[in-house]
Every structure is written in structure tokens, then in C-alpha cells.
Symmetry: C2
Subunit: 497 residues, 2 copies
């Protein structure tokens, strides 16, 4: 039944497509390639203004596709609830993940890189729809001593194949690591295999060279004008170029939808040596200012997306779920609310849809953007205590009453910015202006409706236990790399939102 | 004699040109078109990252030519010494201006727009080598009452043809003015006439719609995502597109060197409604931080400059003098030191030349950049007094010890930034680091040599007199627009550097 429905919808898509599809034999839905960067900032690409302009491949991708200057993540952290190794929980089985749904349309799915939705076996990607995995369940922090804390394992599919800083070295002194090259080979190999097998594929390339500790392989180290962080960007840019080149070489570019974006803003706390750039935007990762949540975003699909387009559609990373289903000819699940927008009419026909962007920090709705207006319901960077210790999410920036170090409630009288005239959130509209009142009159009911309709998820990450850390991942026996866990002591997690 | 020397050098240029020149008949040196914006910031173009991306023509110009992300003005103000109407002095006859020199190679020269080098008749463009002028001697401030202060005249060649706010209206309420369209027609007409006459031309298009009070013509008003300032940018972008289109239409694109840049950083004091964007850079106009002096810059010369190039050459607006002479096959004057670099080897062959950039404010050398290192010898934004009155050259930005409100001498221990890793000048290098010491060891002798070799110019703008204002410009009789000047009272000018 589902397959029939999918086929029907797929034909509909053919009609919708402005450029048409080259249908050869039976209609096969397009491959989907999601290139998700880690802590890369809006301003890190040449096409987004980085003065060093060291991303010729990404800039070309934008010139051949559609650039989204107003694209957002859902949360200003890698994982909506950053998951250390002590976490007992992870992604629940009740959540429907994209690769699970894409199976219905015959897709084979692979994740390369960081998972971050739970490191215990029941939460692994292959339990949630992915067919292949090469990468790690957690961030590449370390090195750890394997006594108080184990090094993070690297998996191939269901079993570990080594650990960071051991079989997969990262030299913190020189910044050398071969990981981006390994991740690139995994991507290229997967694409070639799927092409040979004539199967549609979904590849989720979630690499993390731009997350501190930043790394690059030897041919790229020292080649950038902007230090180690730039070296990492250059290697990623080169990798993206090689992936797109392979798609063209295999003549599947016109049947592969590629989307490039990042998971949150540049980590300015790690800048300038281990963090990127948020261009003209305010603050960075961890905050709900534009620098924390606006992302570089490029859609590429030769023959379908007209070249050289810019869309001012307000986009959200959640849209990639809905859009991917639409590409596959699948309807989104009907048993739950889906927040993502189908971006196909945008990329194919340039359609613009009014929709809000919600900026969350933990469980708090901090801000809302609608059209060009952003209303801050709360302002906060970090605590005075942290700030005094030198932790600064907004280095060099200070907008009075905006970059506050106490959590300031503004729900009664939100701070409103016009992001077109003032993308840097420096000049709040006067609360006495007609423009302010009109903006609020537009935004307020949208916020109310959102808050009334919202069904909070069950917290999954409240219980911690050092015994569940990556001591003895599946496959450790074969490698002789099993470590002995400490005694099981469940406790409430103490990490902050 | 000079003509012979010029011809010899012109043949030399043919040899140097990587792409070669299409010589048809006698070698004619290329036309030179300098598009100089007023108060436009580095970040105002799509290609430099402006999120609204409303400059498709300029972005295309960059894609067809060479982009200079590291291009500087010589001073963070419109005119190195901002010239109000009371100024008695102006450009001395002893200065050799580009159009004077280009005459030797047969060029006809026109200035369209703001002159700003003295408004009294002896200082006018036609007394300094230009053959034609359409524009104003001063900025389009106003409206004035023609009693205490006359409105600024608009000239065609030697005579005024009206005044701003009178024959050339600017509606401060709506922002409507037709001036960019008039300036555009002047440019297009001149190009067509010179092409028809087969004469090489130099066109200096110094338009000012992006200088507060910002204006646009009716078809562009309200069309931008970023307010009136964006409307002005859109109209200019459209104008540049039409100029380049005409060059192609007339088949002279391959014989016309076009350079686009601006006179100083965006005026953040006028932002967000009347000022632009300096992208990721610190502060704006009036300061010697990057936001005050780094400029958008694009070189375009189809068939000669390879398309899609980016040059990290440190460039300076003074280079356009030397480069233009080189294009015309002329040697720079030998009786004086010329600071400009010939950029032809850069644009034609991608050559990079180590050279310093000096950041002056008034007579004070505030900072020096060499390679990627910038050393601040002095730091200052504006006085505490001004700042407390709400005059802010760095809104929303505050880098401790850098954006100071007192003039801080750092000559003994300069503040040093690595502009590649840290274009926003937020993280001074540690003075204990090897990198700091190496940078200073490189920069210090360059500063010393510069200061020892510098021959200060004679101040020309110290005497003011209300009697010399634009009361009765040449041609006013014919229009019946002569005003009666007040009594002559010479006094020391009181405006600040």
C-alpha cells in the first residue's frame, strides 16, 4: 500500500518539477545526500563572505544551485541536548527517522560521521533505519585515559573498529588527523556501490573536522590563510568538490539532491584558532542570536534546481526531513505533528512560504522570526559567573540589553529587530513605533498558537551512569579492546542545558 | 617625447599581458572606468556576504573578473580632510592628477558625481585635467536656506546647472531622488560618445546615493529587503549592470578596464536606515579598524583578467593611479614619490607583492598591515564626550583595550592581530608569543622607513571663510541663481580631523 501511494506521489513530483526529470525506464526517486557540518558558521564560506575565500567548491556548488541566506538550525548546540558518555538514554524507538521511512521507497541509507543520538547499542543508527554506519556515537573529544573515561569508539555498522586517539589518531598538538579523508572515502565508496546496484540512496555525511579540537590531514595542514580552522574548512571543501565530481562522473548528478548545511553557529568560545565565523551576525553557538542558529545552506540538483538562485525562504533544518520524504514520493507520518516544510516548491519553482522560525534553548522558546522580524521573548548569552571566568559566547560584541548575562524575560514587551536592515541585531525597534506594533501584532498569535499546540517530548537524557560509557562497545572482544566498566550508579545528569 | 615614451611602454604592456590584447589597427590603450562608491561598506555586496544578496550585477562582475577581499582606502573619510563649504583651499596645481597625465596618452576624461577637492573655481575638475564634469563639488547635505548656507550647486563642466534640493530634488522624507539615474545617463552617454569618436576614455563615476542622506529613484524605493539603504544599493547595482552591458553591446568590453570600489567603510553612525554593512569587520567609517578602511573591490576586463579569480594582494586605492598609468602605457611622475602599486601583474598574472598598508587618521599613522599581520600603533574610536552623546562608530562592538574612547598610544608595544584567523580584530596576539615577536620584527623596520621617508604635504584646508561658500558659482547669472555672499572673514577652520 505504501509503495503504491509513494509511486503516485512520485508521479506528482514529476509534474511539479520545473525542469522535468530525465526518466529512464522506471521512475527512480532521486538520491539524497545531506552534508551536515559541525560547528561551521554562516560566515565560513567564501560565498557567505569569508575574506580568505577558501571554499571554491562550495562556492561553485552555490553558483550551480540555490543559496539559502536565511536558513536555521533547530537548536544552537550539536545535539539538542548535548550527550556526554554518561547518558543512559538516547533516541526512542517511537521516533520515526528519515532512513526508516525512506526504506518504503527502496532507499539504502548510510551515515558517515557523528551520530550523537545515544551511544548504547539500542540507540545505534542501524537500529533506526540506517543500513550502514561509519563513524562515532559521540564527539571526538579526548584523549581519555580509558580508566576514568574511555576513548570514543569508531564503528563500522554494528561493531567498533577502533577508538579515537588509538586506531584513529588525532594529534592535538599539530592538528593532524586523517578522519576527513576516511569519511570522504566512505562517502565515495557508498555512492559508487549504490550507483552500481541501481538503488536510490540516502547518505548522511555528518563530519566534524570543524568542531574543536579542529583537525585536518597533512596535505591540508598549514595551507589556509586562517589557521587550523581554515585548514579543516579547506579539506572539507575539497571533499565536497570530490563528491559532487563523482556524482557527475557517474552521471547521477541530475538524479541526486544534495544539501549542505551545519548544525549550529560557529563556536566563538573556541575562536580564533579552533572556531569559525558567523559573518555579520551576533554571537555564536549556544545562543539564540543569529550567530548561534543561522546556517550556511546550499541546495544542489543539476537539471532541476536552476543555477545561480538565491532564496530568501526562511528555512529550517527540520525541513530536510519533509523535503526528503517529498523527494522520495512519501507522505510524512500522519500520527504526529511534523514541523518541517517541504522545500521542493522553493528549490524548483522559487516559491516563498510565510512560516515562523522558533529559537529554543533547552525548553525555553527564546525568540521567533517571522518575515524579516525577529522577536526576542528572552535574552541571555551565559551567566555572569561563566562570563567572569572568561567563557564568552559573543567575543567583541556587546549590545546593551540584548547580550545579557542574566536571563531577561521579554515576553510582555519583546525586543524586536528587522533582520534585513539589521542582521547583526544591534538596533531594537522603538517600542513606540508603528513598525514595532505591526510586527508584534503579526508575531504574537503565531507564538500563542505554537505554544498551545506544542506537545513536549519525554525527556530521554536525564539519567546518567558512568557504567554505561563506551567501555565495551560491540565488537570490542574481536579487537581485544574491551574495558571494564565501573560499578553501576545511576544519577541525575548534572550537565546544563 | 612623452608620447614616444608612452608608446614604447604600451608595447611593453602588450608583452606583459597574460591574455594578450586584440590589437585592431593602431594599438589604442584600454579605456579606464573607475566606479567609486560613497560610504559603501565591504559587507554591502552579495559577493561579500550581505544576507539580502541584492547585487546580482556586481556579483556577476566579480564572477567575471577578479575580487580583492583585502583592498583598502587611504583614509577612513570621504575626503582625507572632509571639506565643508567654508573651506578656502583645495587641490593645489602642483598635484598631478590622473586625467592630466592620461592626456599624454590621448585620453578624454570625465568625472560624474562628487569632486570634493575644493569647490572654488580654481580647484574644479576641468582645471585639473578632466574634460567633462557632471556633478557637485561637495556632498549632497541639505537642504540649506540659501541665507546662512547655500545649497550645493550641480555643475555641467565649468558652470552650474542648478542646486541640490532645487533643480535636483532630494526628498528627505521619502528618500526619493533621481540622481543615480542622471549620473547613470551621464556615464552611458559619455561612453557612447567616446566609442563613436574612437578615443580612449577615463570615466570616474563617483556617485553618492549610499552616503547619508541616502536616496533612490522611485522604481527602486521600497524594493529592497534592507530598507532605503538597500534601495540605493539596488539602484547602483542595476546601474553598474547597465554600464557593463553597454560596454559589451559596443564591443569595447575587452578594451575597457573597470574597477569598482568605495571611498571608506560604511557609516555605522547612520545605520541601520542610512548606513551600510562592514560584514565581519570591526567598527566603521572614521576609524582605522578594518571596518573603516577595508573596501569592496572588483577588477573587470573581459579577455584579459581571467574570470572567477580572487586575489589576496593587499591593495590600496592609490594603486588605481599607478595601475591606470600603466594601462595607458605611461610611467608615473619621477619628480615625487608615488605610493601606489601597479596592479596589472596582479590582475593579469595573479602576481602577489608584499607591501604594507598604512592606516592614517588625520596626520597620525594609526596602524600598519603587512602580510596577514596588522599592528595598531594607536587605538581610538571617538572621544568619550562624543560617545556619551550617542555618537558611536562601533555600535554593538566592544573589544576591550581596542575600541578605546581615548587615544591610546601603542607605538612601543603595538596591538597585533592576525587578520586571516581574526578579521574582526577581536583577539590581539599575546605579546609573549613568538608569533607576536616575529610579526613586529617584520613590521617595525617598514614603519620606521615609511616615517623617515615621508614628506608631509602642505596643509591646504586650514583656512575657512563663509564668504567663499557656493553663493555664486560660475553660471549662476544665466540661471538667475546667484546669491549674495556675506562679508569676508577668514578664520582658522574648527572642524575636527
Amino acid at each position: 500500500m505504501a509503495a503504491v501511494a509513494a509511486a503516485t506521489r512520485w508521479r506528482l513530483l514529476l509534474v511539479l518539477s520545473a525542469a522535468g526529470l530525465r526518466v529512464t525506464g522506471a521512475p527512480q526517486p532521486p538520491n539524497i545526500l545531506l552534508l551536515l557540518m559541525d560547528d561551521m558558521g554562516w560566515g565560513d564560506l567564501g560565498v557567505y563572505g569569508e575574506p580568505s575565500r577558501e571554499t571554491p567548491n562550495l562556492d561553485r556548488m552555490a553558483a550551480e544551485g540555490m543559496l539559502f541566506p536565511n536558513f536555521y538550525t533547530a537548536n544552537p548546540l550539536c545535539s539538542p541536548s548535548y550527550t556526554p558518555q554518561e547518558i543512559v538514554g538516547g533516541i526512542p524507538d517511537s521516533e520515526l527517522l528519515l532512513p526508516e521511512l525512506l526504506k518504503e521507497a527502496g532507499y539504502t541509507s548510510k551515515i558517515v560521521g557523528k551520530w550523537h543520538l545515544g551511544h548504547r547499542p539500542q540507540f545505534h543508527p542501524l537500529k533506526h533505519g540506517f543500513d550502514e554506519w561509519f563513524g562515532s556515537p559521540n564527539c571526538h573529544f579526548g584523549p581519555y585515559d580509558n580508566k576514568a573515561r574511555p576513548n570514543i569508539p569508531v564503528y563500522r555498522d554494528r561493531e567498533m573498529v577502533g577508538r579515537f586517539y588509538e586506531e584513529f589518531p588525532i594529534n592535538l598538538k599539530t592538528g593532524e588527523a586523517n578522519l576527513t579523508q576516511i569519511y570522504l572515502q566512505e562517502a565515495l565508496d557508498f555512492v559508487k556501490r549504490q550507483q552500481a546496484a541501481h538503488r536510490p540512496f540516502f547518505l548522511y555525511w555528518a563530519i566534524d573536522a570543524t568542531h574543536a579540537p579542529v583537525y585536518a590531514s597533512r596535505p591540508f595542514l598549514g595551507t589556509s590563510r586562517r589557521g587550523r580552522y581554515g585548514d579543516a574548512v579547506r579539506e572539507i571543501d575539497d571533499g565536497v568538490g570530490r563528491i559532487l565530481h563523482l556524482l557527475r562522473d557517474l552521471s547521477i548528478a541530475e538524479n541526486t539532491f544534495v544539501f549542505f548545511t551545519s548544525d549550529n553557529g560557529a563556536a566563538l568560545i573556541s575562536a580564533p584558532r579552533q572556531g569559525g565565523s558567523n559573518g555579520p551576525f551576533l554571537c555564536g553557538k549556544q545562543t539564540t542570536f543569529e550567530g548561534g542558529m543561522r546556517e550556511p545552506a546550499i541546495a544542489w540538483w543539476p537539471g532541476h534546481i536552476p543555477a545561480g538562485q538565491v532564496s530568501h525562504q526562511l528555512g529550517n533544518i527540520m525541513d530536510l526531513f519533509t523535503t526528503s520524504l517529498s523527494l522520495a514520493g512519501l507522505a510524512p507520518p500522519r500520527d504526529r505533528a511534523i514541523d518541517g516544510l517541504d522545500l521542493l516548491p522553493t528549490v524548483l519553482q522559487g516559491r516563498l512560504t510565510d512560516r515562523p522560525i522558533f529559537y529554543y534553548r533547552g525548553n525555553t522558546l527564546m525568540a521567533v522570526t517571522l518575515g524579516q522580524y525577529k522577536a526576542h521573548l528572552w535574552t541571555w548569552t551565559n551567566s555572569w559567573e561563566e562570563f567572569r571566568q572568561g567563557v564568552d559566547f559573543c567575543p567583541g560584541q556587546n549590545v546593551s540589553g540584548v547580550t545579557t548575562h542574566s536571563q531577561e524575560e521579554r515576553t510582555k514587551l519583546p525586543l524586536v529587530f528587522h533582520l534585513g536592515r539589521d542582521p547583526g541585531e544591534r538596533y531594537p525597534l522603538s517600542i513606540a513605533s508603528t513598525e514595532y506594533l505591526d510586527a508584534l501584532r503579526w508575531i504574537t498569535p503565531v507564538v500563542r498558537q505554537h505554544q498551545e499546540a506544542l506537545v513536549p517530548g519525554q525527556p530521554q537524557l536525564n539519567v546518567c551512569n558512568r557504567a554505561v560509557m563506551n567501555w565495551a562497545p560491540p565488537g570490542c572482544e574481536k579487537l581485544g579492546k574491551c574495558l571494564t566498566p565501573p560499578e553501576s550508579v545511576p544519577e541525575k545528569c548534572s550537565w546544563p542545558h
